[in-house]
């Protein structure tokens, strides 16, 4: 194992990690949004993505719809799930302790997995076609990049800018106001209920986008192997923790960092460690929470 090879592998890991991390950034954005809105750790965030992905897969692959129609259907499914979660779980539990709500969202995730098994157990190996099959190799570093990954990064950029603009618009300001001062907001005519629906709707859409975009990277199957639990939920949460559970730009940056940390597990030096990726993520999370629990990429919106 020489230094040159290690550097090459590191370069590839960083590029691949940033590309993969943009998916986690999208998940993290949804987690931060919900946390700011209702103080809830949303364990169903990744399953919004899976539901979107399975719906899009059904539309595009099984029913032969066009890709845009399939994506729209997937996003619609994710949105519906987000709104249902708000109505059936989050709203009834608005006065319960936050751990109770956390268990509730985990229940939503489990229900989503149950539905996946029910509808999709017939097909054990599912693949979603890429939007574009193209790929190229980054000069010098030698890292492969697929067009699909670039599209994901592009979408992340658009979504980030869109969210930033949205929170400067009247609706966005109303959300921020309701999040900070619910009672006062009600008094000035902002419906906290509508704001909650809006928050969960946007979060579900973010999850859906992440799920649908990451679908073509790998094969997927019903269950937590696809996008939930350790696969995308944990990295998403870690990115949100890096952002202090508050900062939107921090969530984006955090997602990219977590993506790179995860890819370090694929280096040759780690090849004899089983589950190197899971070990790195666990150590990294422990490190952040014990050393800087308030987050790292908190930025100027930290006061929000």
């Amino acid at each position: 194992m020489n230094v040159g090879q290690l550097l090459t592998e590191l370069g590839i890991a960083v590029v691949t990690g940033v590309l993969q991390g943009s998916v986690y950034a999208l998940v993290a954005l949804g987690i931060v949004l919900v946390y700011r809105g209702s103080g809830v750790f949303n364990f169903a965030q990744a399953e919004f993505g899976t539901v979107g992905l399975f719906a899009a897969y059904a539309a595009v692959v099984l029913w032969g719809w066009s890709y845009p129609a399939g994506v729209a259907f997937g996003l619609g499914a994710a949105l519906a799930m987000g709104l249902l979660t708000e109505r059936l779980v989050v709203h009834p539990l608005r006065n319960a302790s936050r751990v109770t709500v956390l268990v509730g969202t985990a229940g939503v995730a489990l229900a989503a997995v149950g539905v996946q098994f029910w509808r999709f157990n017939e097909t054990p190996i599912m693949t979603m076609p890429k939007i574009d099959d193209g790929f190229f190799v980054v000069p010098v570093i030698g890292a492969p990049v697929t067009v699909q990954q670039l599209i994901t990064v592009g979408v992340l950029g658009v979504v980030s800018v869109g969210l930033a603009l949205f929170f400067r618009s009247p609706s966005g300001l109303a959300i921020q106001a309701a999040q900070q001062e619910p009672v006062a907001s009600e008094l000035v005519g902002i419906s906290v209920r509508r704001v909650s629906m809006l928050t969960w709707g946007i979060a579900a859409l973010l999850g859906g986008i992440a799920g649908i975009l990451s679908g073509p990277y790998t094969t997927f199957t019903a269950g937590f192997l696809t996008f939930g639990a350790g696969r995308a939920l944990l990295p998403g949460f870690m990115a949100a923790v890096l952002a202090g559970m508050k900062s939107m730009p921090g969530a984006v940056l955090g997602g990219l960092v977590v993506g790179v940390v995860e890819q370090l597990g694929t280096l040759t030096v780690m090849s004899h460690v089983p589950g190197a990726r899971a070990m790195l993520l666990f150590a990294f999370l422990l490190g952040i929470l014990l050393l800087r629990p308030q987050g790292i990429f908190v930025g100027r919106t930290a006061t929000a």
Partner: protein, 399 residues
Amino acid sequence: MTAIDTTTVLPAIDEEVTVSEPDVGFRPGRAGWVGRGLVWALLAWLVLALPVNWFSPFHVGVADIDVLSLAVIYAIGGLSLNVLLGYAGQISLGHQAFVGLGAFASAYVVTNLQLGFWLAVAVAAAFGAAQATVLGAVSLRLTGLYFALVTLAYGTFAEETLFGIAAITGGEGGKPAARPVGFEDGYSYYFLCLGFLAVILWLDRRLTRTKAGRALAALRENPRVAASYGINVKAYTLLAFAVSGMFAGVAGSLMAHHDEVIVGSTFDFQLALLFILMTVVGGLRDRVGVVIGSAFFALLQEKLLVNAVGGVFGSLHLDDFFGLLGELLHVDGIFASGLGIPAEFVGLIVGPILLLLTLTKYPGGIGQQVAPIRLWLTGHRFDRHAGAVTEVEVNDVRA
């Protein structure tokens, strides 16, 4: 940094207040005692005789009895999580790792070191307690919700890294774990599991009835107030972790020798959520409810419940007339069962629905539903509202 910010987890009945005041001094009459005795006898028959086909019109086969043993083991696992989630108010989304660690420790002792089963159980319990205590120490430095993330990451780490060390765990092919001498067949192993459940239930009762239990209740209510009364918050939180880990280790050990081959991938996130389901739907802090809840989900998960229902219907009349149909329904049980959902996934649909109903509508879970019967059985007057949760506790401290 404060210790525990999340004080209340889920509203549930408090055992000490289940006996309502007017009941004091009530003594059942002769008929009352006979009725209670009959129900007790029936329960005893259900747990002790039916599974081994004594005095039973049903037949419990060698594979069915293994499922019943698993239900007992899951009950121990549920009680383990109940100590953390119910008594200490700490959420664990990595509880499957607690159990798994005990399972592999036990299998290693028996298979690699060639030592006895009883020692293996002790080692598994010790391992479980040790790793839980370490996690507990971490939890003392974190707020409740962040700790949930740590347990999630820990569960994944354990499943993929710890249980992936092939030299110890046998890797994907699994680790053999022979049953103890004298308990090789499923029927005697069932009684072994029952014995362990009894011990765990006794320990659990001891825990809640002693000073430790009262201390835990106080710091669940409000850690700051508890600390001001001189309760050592850290020590009792760690105690809860250690006890929970010990129970989980025992459950893991029993699981390993139950399955006789164990694989790391068994201990995945889905199992963690299953434990949450068992405990919450069973009714937090209600050990009868937790045991019933655990057994219910274990039977649901392992298809026995679905198949038994099918079997009862089948044995009534259906396949006497439609022998071939009955044959198909039974032999290909996986393909049958109603909505086209394989029987082992029924739990995945039913479970979350019950969980959400418990959280939003019936906070006492199964424990609350059976509380009237339980109290009646222990000599109280039958009161349909016994054990009902009168108020929803919301003294939640925001981080």
